[in-house]
Every structure is written in C-alpha cells, then in structure tokens.
Point group: C2
Chain length 94, copies 2
DNA sequence: TAAATTTGGTTTATATTATAAACTACTTTA
DNA sequence: TAAAGTAGTTTATAATATAAACCAAATTTA
C-alpha cells in the first residue's frame, strides 16, 4: 500500500529548499531565491512553513549593514526528508 | 538547476493512480479507489484530469448490468511519468 | 543632497488545487 | 416496494500556492 506523503515536503518549492539545504547545510535567502527561481514572497512563505515545522532553523542577522537571513536544515528536517524519499520511491517504482 | 515538475503528476493521488496503472496496465475505478483509499469524488476528479491530459484512457462499459469504468495508461502517460521520475530524482538526490 | 533605485525581505490578496459533501441513476436484497 | 448498495459525477468548500503590493534601510545617480 502506498503511504501518505508528508504534505509539507510534497510541494515543489519546499522540496527544492530542503534539497538545497541538504547539500549545502546553510544558505542565505538570496541564494535560495536564485537557485529556486522563486519570487521573494513565495520563498518567504515557504521558508516560514518549514521553520514552523522545525525542518529548518532560520537565523536573522546582518552582513555589514544589509539584513541577511540564513537557513539551516535541522536533524528533524533531514529525517523527514529521508522518510519522504523512501515513501516516494514506492510511487516512482524505484 | 532543478527542473520544473509536471504539476499534473506532482499530486499525491494522481501520482498514485499513474503508479498503479504503470504496474497493472488496466484497472477499474473501484480497484483504484480501494488501492488509493481515496473518496470516489476525489478519484473521479483526478481521473478526469489525467484523461484530459491524455495520460490515461478511460473506457466506460458494463460488467453485467453494473456500470464499469476502466482506466488504461497511454504512451504519453508513460513518457510523462518517466520524465517526472527523472526530474524528481534531482530533488531527492537519487 | 535629494530623488530614484536596489536589496532583502514580509504581509496580504488572489488564483489554483485538493477534497469532501451532496447528488444521480441504477441494482440488489429484505 | 422500500431500503440499502454500487458506481460513479457534480458542486461547494477548504487548503495551498503564488503573486502583487508593500515596507525599511542602503546605495546609487543626477
């Protein structure tokens, strides 16, 4: 039987964010925006959702005088991502 | 760069339908309903969307006196599914 | 140095999508 | 023949994604 997929990860943009954070471990808002080609508004909303879920950790600071938002994936986020991948494999016949 | 995923396949229920049809080649509405555990209404809507896209072919007939809807995956559907799997692999780091 | 533009976002409104509830048409069973 | 079951569709609503509008501060330009 196919398992219910984590709806928080089964979203193109949120999955892309998580995928990037799995690789780089830490990334700025602007980097994520460039890589995903999302609008700032959409990215802001989805980052907040991932943060609320405890999948990522967001730290706000400054790079010189310019505000900077840094995102890190959490242990919980890594586990959720890995679980999602395993569940999705059944759908994809992998 | 991560590719844009086919929105028609990036839906849990539609993906489940396609996944089942890839395996069995042909399936009745009731079989799909049992396997996916979807409500009939939701299933009906999603089947129609896949049909409209040309990803599946729907044949309506009768099993005795009882109406029966049979779904088959099309060549286009198989190709779209395979493309989706390849694109998604980048997200999943597979 | 004042106005315009850019950077780095958030908030809010709207469009899209998913889902469930209500309904239809027919059949079987009590 | 009334009630319940089968096999769905249509329609209304809830959830989600996305974009547009907005904000504050910094930087560039005239």
């Amino acid at each position: 039987m196919l398992k219910k997929l984590d709806p928080l990860l089964h979203s193109e943009l949120r999955l892309a964010i998580m995928s990037l954070l799995i690789s780089v471990e830490k990334a700025g808002f602007t980097y994520l925006k460039e890589q995903t080609e999302a609008t700032a508004g959409n990215l802001s909303v989805q980052v907040t959702k991932l943060e609320d879920a405890g999948y990522i950790f967001v730290k706000k600071g400054f790079k010189g005088k310019i505000p900077q938002t840094i995102c890190n994936i959490t242990k919980k986020g890594i586990e959720a991502f890995e679980k999602y991948v395993e569940e999705l494999k059944d759908y994809l016949k992998l």
